[in-house]
Amino acid sequence: MDVRFINPFLEGTVSVLKTMAFVEPRPGKPYLKKDALAKGDVSGIIGLTGAASGSMALSFSKGCILKIVSNMLGEDIKEINSDIRDAVGEITNMVSGVARQKLEALGLNLTAAIPTVVAGKDHTITHVMGGPSIVIPFETDTGPLVVDICIGEPKK
């Protein structure tokens, strides 16, 4: 996978969570993931086409997403409910928007599809390109989240 795709999504995630939820995620060391099992309790996934094809998923631990959405909405949310699912879709959308803006500056124009959201223990993330994917882990004060990206080589 072209490494130029990694940073824009990392920066997008930090920017969206800091701006919309006042949560500052701390990135860890990226690694290669070979299975489809999600790392979190709720995930948003979005397909990308254009200069290259693939998909990006954000997978949040329960503690992490409850804090994020509570901050975004200004109310205390205690369970993964429809507000959380809705917000995960919107966060996925926004992260992809910020990342695509940064990729456009590198001459890599991508178009995003509509995000889908999956919740539940041991749910899976199926990438458009099959996999393996690159995972960027993040820590927050209330739990981890990961960005899981699988994008093919840019078209010549």
């Binding site: 701006t19 959405v69 879709g89 919107e90 928007g97 910020v98 456009e104």
Partner: protein, 128 residues
């Protein structure tokens, strides 16, 4: 021009959460008189049946998108002067050009803070 903090604002977004987020940000900067719509079609109905002073609309929505709503508003003699702020996840230049041509008053790219929203609104009402 001073901004009337009691003006009636219509927030249009297909995501209920995003409508809540925008309402929350508006409340932080002193606006409480807010109504909502989930797409362009229902927004247009609200605009025709209620006195709306300001529209904040998402771009990407099913049924009627934000840009279609903006064009419909500008084409309607009763509504054409309503200030319109477009919210979008797309910062692509060609989109800005399309929105400006359609008569948008300002443009805000997600994610944004209450301060940014406040600045965008002030800019709109300064120019009116």
């Amino acid at each position: 021009m001073d901004i009337d903090k009691n003006m009636k604002i219509l927030v249009v977004d297909d995501f209920a959460t995003m409508r809540k987020v925008i309402k929350n940000l508006l409340k932080q900067i002193g606006f409480e008189n807010i109504t909502e719509a989930e797409d362009g079609t229902s927004a247009l109905r609200t605009l025709k049946s209620q006195e709306i002073d300001f529209v904040i609309s998402d771009w990407n929505m099913p049924n009627m998108s934000g840009i279609e709503l903006l064009k419909a508003v500008r084409a309607d003699d009763d509504l054409k002067s309503v200030p319109f702020l477009m919210v979008t996840a797309e910062a692509l230049k060609e989109n800005v050009v399309i929105a400006v041509k359609a008569g948008v008053n300002n443009y805000v790219v997600k994610p944004f803070t209450a301060e940014v929203l406040s600045e965008k609104i002030e800019k709109i009402f300064e120019k009116l």
